[in-house]
């Protein structure tokens, strides 16, 4: 009896091992997939039907015969997706949660529009009804809240010669607004017109190398959209685990910068966050020395004069790093002459409650408040 029981144990173990090997051979990607994305049905639907109920989630209305728009507005979304970008990332615009637990097992999804504590990139809800205040990128998908009339459809400072996308930004697109991803967007591969195609595989990528902490390394960052900082193709950086829901001088993203600005000519050569912004705002990214024609970006903050007043990392007016060492965590240390002024030193990425997507209230009627951001670096102008 004892011998038969022992034999059965060995058989079970053997079967399990074989099953694992088979699975690994057939689907190597599964072994590399983040644990949280293993449940496919969180995002995908095989037949757009569950329990005889048609599945089509998210707010993009169903509209027929819309060409490429069908990827979100069609009856069946591309890549068997249940919802569009905002279906996951703006699940409840009026809700207080900036991070939503979603799916089974539940995992954290950063929200781009909500009524709670802002994350690092800002909050599109703050830009609703912004008119010409330019409080946010007029991203498509929020309907009347962010309309085509709120901003022009050509990014300020756009220079196609500085846009490394081989499709370029199309200012005459029917949408008239920026998309989340793709050639007319920010995230994913901007060599794709479709913003869903642009993001293909990104969410499935094991991006441990981007997470600040023991596994962080810049090696291989930027090689795919999924291995790029916040899915911004090519960009390096260190991702804060909660998207700066909690933020301090020792708890924040780490951005990549350069000691002098450059305009990548081929896609994928981008590695700094300011170079990325320059893909669409290229005229604003340039200049290597005084007298400056435009505010410096991808330039080290000098270790002299008024700039010596910047002594500790400011999460409100952050600086980028020329490199981020393996295993790095967020650092409060500032090295003047090395750490770098970047676009995000003054602006949020998505939106803010302030004009021109600035990080502080530049239009406040109180001059001290209006100058507060400038004075962090320009300490003699306080």
């Amino acid at each position: 009896m004892k011998a038969i029981y022992g034999k059965k144990i060995y058989i079970v173990i053997l079967v399990v091992l074989v099953a694992v090997c088979i699975l690994k051979m057939l689907s190597p990607a599964i072994a590399a997939t983040k644990d949280v994305y293993k449940v496919c049905s969180n995002c995908h639907t095989m037949h757009a039907s569950q329990d005889a109920i048609f599945i089509r989630e998210g707010n993009a209305p169903e509209v027929s015969s819309l060409g490429n728009c069908v990827e979100c507005h069609g009856r069946y979304r591309w890549m068997l997706l249940k919802m569009d970008c905002l279906g996951c990332h703006a699940r409840n615009v009026n809700g207080a949660d900036s991070i939503v637990l979603f799916g089974d097992p539940s995992y954290k999804v950063p929200q781009v529009a909500h009524n709670g504590t802002d994350l690092a990139a800002g909050n599109f809800r703050l830009a609703f009804g912004m008119g010409n205040e330019s409080k946010g990128h007029n991203v498509h998908g929020f309907g009347i809240n962010l309309t085509t009339v709120d901003l022009m459809n050509l990014p300020p400072g756009y220079d196609s010669g500085r846009d490394p996308s081989n499709i370029k930004y199309d200012q005459f697109s029917d949408v008239g607004q920026i998309m989340c991803a793709g050639a007319n967007g920010c995230h994913g591969n901007r060599n794709q017109t479709s913003h869903i195609e642009a993001m293909r595989g990104s969410h499935h990528t094991n991006d441990a190398i981007l997470q600040l902490g023991a596994n962080f390394t810049e090696t291989n960052q930027g090689t795919t959209p999924g291995l790029s900082y916040r899915f911004l193709y090519g960009v390096h950086g260190g991702e804060d685990s909660d998207w700066q829901a909690t933020v301090s001088s020792t708890d924040h993203n780490e951005y990549k910068g350069a000691s002098s600005p450059s305009a990548p000519t081929t896609y994928g050569d981008t590695d700094t966050i300011s170079e990325f912004c320059g893909e669409c705002h290229g005229m604003f990214h340039g200049g290597s020395a005084s007298p400056w024609l435009r505010h410096p970006s991808d330039i080290p903050l000098p270790n002299s004069g008024e700039y010596t007043g910047y002594t500790a990392y400011s999460a409100t007016i952050p600086l980028a790093r020329p490199s981020i060492a393996d295993g790095s965590s967020s650092s409060s240390t500032v090295t003047l002459g090395t750490d770098i002024v970047m676009c995000l030193s003054c602006h949020r990425a998505h939106a803010s409650q302030y004009t021109k997507i600035l990080r502080w209230d530049y239009k406040n009627s109180d001059l001290s408040t209006a100058l507060a951001g400038c004075a962090v670096c320009h300490s003699s102008k306080n």
């Binding site: 010409n132 330019s134 022009m152 050509l154 300020p156 400072g157 301090s248 005229m283 604003f284 005084s290 007298p291 400056w292 024609l293 435009r294 505010h295 409100t316 003054c346 004009t355 502080w360 530049y362 239009k363 406040n364 009627s365 109180d366 001059l367 001290s368 408040t369 209006a370 100058l371 507060a372 951001g373 400038c374 004075a375 962090v376 300490s379 003699s380 102008k381 306080n382």
Partner: protein, 411 residues
Amino acid sequence: MLMKMNRCHSDKIVFGLFFVFCVASLVCALLLSAPLTAQSGTYLDSAHGNSSYGVKRVGYGFPDYTKGLCAHCHEQHASIDGAEPDPAGGGPDKYMLLAENFSGAVQQPYSQSHDVCFSCHYGVGTLQSTAFYNESYSSTFGGEAAASSNIFDTFNKASYHNLKDVLTVASNNWSGTFSAANSNPCSVCHNSHLARRINANQGNPGFTAISKPSSHSTLWGSVSTERMNYYTAYYRAPFSVGANPASDPTKHEPDGVSRSYTSNEVQGSNLPDYVTFCNDCHNSIVSSYTLGRNLYAIDWTASGDQHGKGDGAGSAMGDLKAPYTSDGTSGGTQVDSTNFVTSCTDCHEPHGSSNEYLIRTTVNGSAVSITTSGKWYSLCITCHSLTGDHTWHTIGNSCNGSGCHDHGSNF
């Protein structure tokens, strides 16, 4: 029992630590939640940076920013809502300024576009939201009637500080601070982020508007060691318009307040040391494109000019008028033992004048009009009575002709 007491004691320790933690957290939360604000500092104290009377540009495509904001002078991207705001000049300008810093114009006539400062320091057509005036020194500090003047018009007067010459001298002497190709000549004497509003605070040198070219990052005149009474013990402020020369106390420059000649203010405690300031440039040879020659190097030392520390006491030729008398009044006697020292601004305008050589139109409370070149009689008699060999001088004669009375002459 012992165990119970130990647990009780440890509970207290835990509670105490918890209490301290709560208090510390509360304090941190309060501190960290404080909104980001600039501390009051040098720019906010400046004329440009003041939230009540500071810079405020108006123009097509320019937002309604609060007064004093950087954006009024500096355009971070030379683009607002996709286009360059007024004055739209075909692209960004150096130092991200709203217009070209300095065109390099070699002389008059200046136009508004020649110097970025003229964008606002201008008459009709100023980009400043509310029209404002910068009167002459004679008016602001000497009491002469205001003429609704502005800096631009002043630099287009008969005599003026040639802006190109100013920048050339500065870039030659202080190349680490000023560049002939990139700097603004106004900034040679004024740091636009520091200069304060002395024209509304005439008697308070803490509101000085000037910075020495050799020390651009600091104001000059704001501390006691940078005042005329520190430069010399023999300074006496001229009368201002409306003074009663027969009386003491009476009105003196720079603020027209009635004071005794013995007061610290009349002795120069409320006047920046303009001698040291001006001599940053003028104590050496300065080339003048306007005049086509070099200017005389000013020597205000004891071995130099008699209007300076050079010994001019006891002259039998030209008695001094009040307030340069024994009691500061017209009834006083000559003080042969006192070698009075003047400030450059006692006689000269800093920007421009309808008189030649930037001679003021009001000196020591009296009008000065030099209608013929070189004939400065009306200037000299504001402070001097003519005696002895000078009785033959009339208004038609020249004081400084034939090298009689010039900077550098020994009588």
